[in-house]
Symmetry: C2
C-alpha cells in the first residue's frame, strides 16, 4: 500500500490557500464574462492566452514548457532521475461558452501549486512531474470532447478529428496549428512521453459533497456514458381533418417511450442516469400532426453490463410504445465506465486522512480527461465540493479553503507517486 | 325550405368540366412549382398576378371587378334588382409555400364557372352575384389567417393587422397598399357591401369523402380551433451528476402530460382533435436535464362546450403531471365553432340530390373563410373529395369529374339564393 511520508506531508502543508486563489482569479480574467464566469473555448485566442499565462508562470520559476501535436500543454519539473517516466497532474483550461472559473482551470492551477509547494520546500522529486492542460475537454466548440487527453492516451486517433468543424465553421486541424504556433512552448511528439501515473483534481459538479458537509472526496471511478438516438417515424397530417384513429403521431410515440422507459428504469439506489436531453420534432408546426421525432438519450452508469441492459430495454420499448409509428435506434457514441487503480485510490485516501480531509469514496457522474489517462497508467482523481453542485454555469463557485484542502491531498499524493 | 327550380338545374347542368379544369390549370401556372404544386403566398407579386388573371377573365365577359381595403377581390355579375344585397361565392387565391393547385383557387374559379354557366344560359339573376377572392386565408406569410374575410365580416379589425410583419420582414400594411396599387380593379370601402348569403366550395383536405367513394359532401359546420400553450418549468442540471430524485425535468413532465391527456380525452366517436403539434425544449442539449418545455396544443371540436371542457382538463392535468416542475397554461388563440345556416344546408342537400351528387353531411376540420362569412350572413359550403386527403402539399389533387359535380351543386344553389 502506498503511504505518504513526512516529506509528502510537508509538501501538502506548503500549499498556500491565498496563492492558489489568487492564481485562479488571475486566470479567470482571461475570457471573463459579466456575471462572474468565463468563455474560453478550446483553441480560441483566449484559450491560447490562458496557455501562455501558464507558460509565463512556469518560465518565471525556471520550469520548461512543452506542447504536443494535440496542443496539449505540459509544464515540467525535472526529477532527480531525469530519464524516468513522469507523473502527470492535470486537467483542462478550456471552458463552456458560459462556463465557470473552476471547471478544468482549478485542476491545472492546483498542479502548478503542487510544483510551487515542492519548489518552496527546496525538494526535488525522483521522477519528473508534469502539469498538463489537455485540449478541448468540454466539446462545446467542436467534437469530440477530451480531444487532447484521448489523443495523448491513444484512445482516439488525432487524425480522425482534424477535419471536424467548429461551431464557428473553422477546421479543427487549422485551429490546432494556429494555436500551436501562437503558444510559446517547445513542440514534442505526442507519444514521446508515457506517464508512470496520473492525477487530476476537479470540482465535483454535483451536490453530494456539499450536502454531506465534506470539502473533499476521492473518486473511485467514472461512470460510462452512452448516447442513444431514437428516431420515431410517423406521418404528418392536418391537425383539423385527420381522425385520431388514422394518425401516426411521432410525438405521441416519443412521449409514450419516455414515460415507459422512465418507469421501467426506476432505480432505488438512484445510480442510473437516464436523460432525454434533446428532442427534435418535425415539422414542429402547431397545426400539423408530427411526422418525425429524433430523441437523444444520455445513459450513464458505472457498470457496463447495466448500460448494455438499459440499451437493450430501449431497443425493446421504443418500437412497442411508438406503434403505429416505426422506430430506428442507434448508438451515437459510447464511453465505457472506468474504475480507477486501487493503489492510487488507497494512496489518495491515506493522503486525505493525513490532511484531515476524510474524503469519502465517490463516483464521477461527469466525464473527465482522467477517463482517457486511466486507460494507459494508474490514475486517480480528487473532487472538491462546489456551491449548489452548479457547474457549466457562470455561477459556478467553490470555497478557497476547500480548494486548498483538496490541493493538499493532491500534493501529498503527487510527491509520493513521484518518489515511488 | 329552399328548393332549386328548373332554371337552377339548367345553370347547374351548364357547368363545363373541361372549361373549369382548363381554368384551374391556367391559374396554377402562376407560382407553379416543380412537383406540380404552387407557391403563391398572400400579397406577393404572384398573388397579385393571380388576381389580375381573374380580373382579365371578368373584363373579357363584361363583368366589373372591385377590391376593398383588405385587398379582397370581387367579380360582380349584376342582378336585375341592382340595389339588392349580393350573394357572395368565394374562397382564396393565396397558397402555402409548397401548396397545391386546388386549395382556395378551386373555390374562386368554381365561382367564375357559376357566372359563366348563368351567362351562357342567357339568364340574369334577381340579385347581383359576386365572386370573392379573400386575402391571406393561409397565414403562411403573415398572421392572422383569413385576413381578408375576417376584416370583411368585421370579426377582426383590419387596423390591428397592418403593423404585423411578414416572414420576409415586410409590414403587412405596406404589402396591402402595394397589392391594391398593382391590382387592376376599382377600390370600394370594405363595409359598403353586405352579402345576403354566402357560399364556398373547397376540396375536403381530408380523406372522408374519398374513403366513402363519394365525390361531394355538404358541410354542416366548421369545428372551433383553440391553440393552448403549456409551459413546463423545471431546472437544468448535469445529466451525469444529478440524481434522479433531485431532478426537475421539464421534458419528463411534458411527456407525462401528453400521455395522460391522450388517455383522458379518448373519444370513441373520434370527433375531438387534440394535437401536440409543436414542442420546444430548452436548452435541448443531450447532456443536460431539460429546464423548460413549451408545448403547443391544437384543440378542435364542433361544440364549444366540449372545447371548454378539454381546456379545463388541460389546466388540471398539466400541473398534476408536471410535478415537481411548475406549469403555465395560456390560450394563444381561439376561434369558436360555427354551425352553418340550416336553410342553406337544406338547399345544398336538395341541389346535390338534383345533380345526383348525394352528398353526405359532414364537418369541416380545417378553418375556412366561410367561418367568418357565417358570422354575418347565412352561409354554406360544399366539399369535393381530394386524393388521399392530401392538402397543403404539392401532391394535392382532385378529379375533374368531382370538381365539376361539386360546382354543379354550387351553381344550382347560387342561382336559387340569388333569386330568392
Amino acid at each position: 500500500m502506498l503511504r505518504p511520508d513526512a516529506k509528502a506531508a510537508a509538501v501538502g502543508n506548503a500549499v498556500d490557500q491565498d496563492r492558489l486563489w489568487d492564481l485562479l482569479m488571475r486566470l479567470a480574467e482571461i475570457g471573463a464574462l459579466e456575471n462572474g464566469g468565463v468563455n474560453r473555448q478550446a483553441l480560441t485566442e483566449l484559450d491560447t492566452e490562458a496557455k501562455n499565462f501558464v507558460i509565463e508562470w512556469a518560465r518565471a520559476r525556471g520550469f520548461s514548457a512543452f506542447q504536443d501535436d494535440a496542443a496539449n500543454l505540459f509544464v515540467r519539473m525535472p526529477g532527480a532521475a531525469a530519464s524516468q517516466d513522469p507523473l502527470i497532474v492535470g486537467s483542462h483550461l478550456d471552458s463552456q461558452p458560459t462556463g465557470g472559473k473552476f471547471d478544468g482551470a482549478f485542476g491545472v492551477l492546483a498542479g502548478l501549486e503542487v510544483l510551487e509547494s515542492i519548489r518552496q520546500q527546496g525538494l526535488t522529486p525522483e521522477r519528473p512531474i508534469e502539469v498538463a492542460a489537455w485540449t478541448n475537454e468540454e466539446a462545446s466548440r467542436f467534437l469530440p470532447g477530451a480531444t487532447g487527453s484521448s489523443a495523448f492516451a491513444g484512445t482516439r486517433e488525432l487524425s480522425a478529428v482534424l477535419d471536424n468543424r467548429t461551431v464557428d465553421g473553422a477546421r479543427v486541424g487549422d485551429e490546432l496549428a494556429a494555436s500551436i504556433a501562437a503558444t510559446r512552448a517547445e513542440l514534442r511528439p505526442i507519444h514521446s512521453v508515457r506517464p508512470c501515473a496520473s492525477l487530476e483534481i476537479h470540482i465535483e459538479q454535483g451536490p453530494i459533497l456539499e450536502q454531506a458537509g465534506l470539502p473533499v472526496g476521492i473518486v473511485k471511478g467514472i461512470q460510462g456514458v452512452r448516447r442513444i438516438q431514437v428516431e420515431i417515424l410517423g406521418e404528418t397530417a392536418h391537425a383539423g381533418t385527420t381522425q385520431q384513429a388514422l394518425r401516426k403521431d411521432a410525438l405521441d410515440g416519443a412521449a409514450r417511450i419516455m414515460v415507459s422507459l422512465r418507469s421501467l428504469t426506476k432505480d432505488y439506489d438512484d445510480i442510473l442516469r437516464l436523460t432525454f436531453g434533446r428532442i427534435d420534432s418535425f415539422p414542429n408546426s402547431p397545426g400539423t400532426v408530427t411526422g418525425k421525432v429524433r430523441l437523444t438519450i444520455d445513459l450513464r452508469h458505472p457498470d457496463k453490463a447495466v448500460m448494455d441492459k438499459v440499451e437493450g430495454l430501449i431497443r425493446e420499448v421504443a418500437p412497442a410504445q411508438a406503434h403505429p409509428c416505426r422506430t430506428e435506434v442507434r448508438v451515437l457514441s459510447t464511453v465505457d465506465p472506468i474504475a480507477f487503480d486501487p493503489s492510487i485510490i488507497g494512496l489518495l485516501e491515506n493522503c486525505a486522512n493525513m490532511m484531515n480531509a476524510s474524503g469519502p469514496l465517490m463516483l464521477s457522474g461527469a466525464g473527465h480527461d482522467s477517463l482517457h489517462l486511466g486507460r494507459i497508467c494508474p490514475t486517480g482523481m480528487v473532487f472538491v465540493a462546489c456551491e449548489g453542485g452548479i457547474s457549466h454555469h457562470e455561477a459556478e463557485n467553490a470555497k478557497p479553503f476547500d480548494l486548498a484542502l483538496g490541493t493538499r491531498v493532491l500534493a501529498a499524493a503527487a510527491w509520493t507517486l513521484a518518489n515511488r
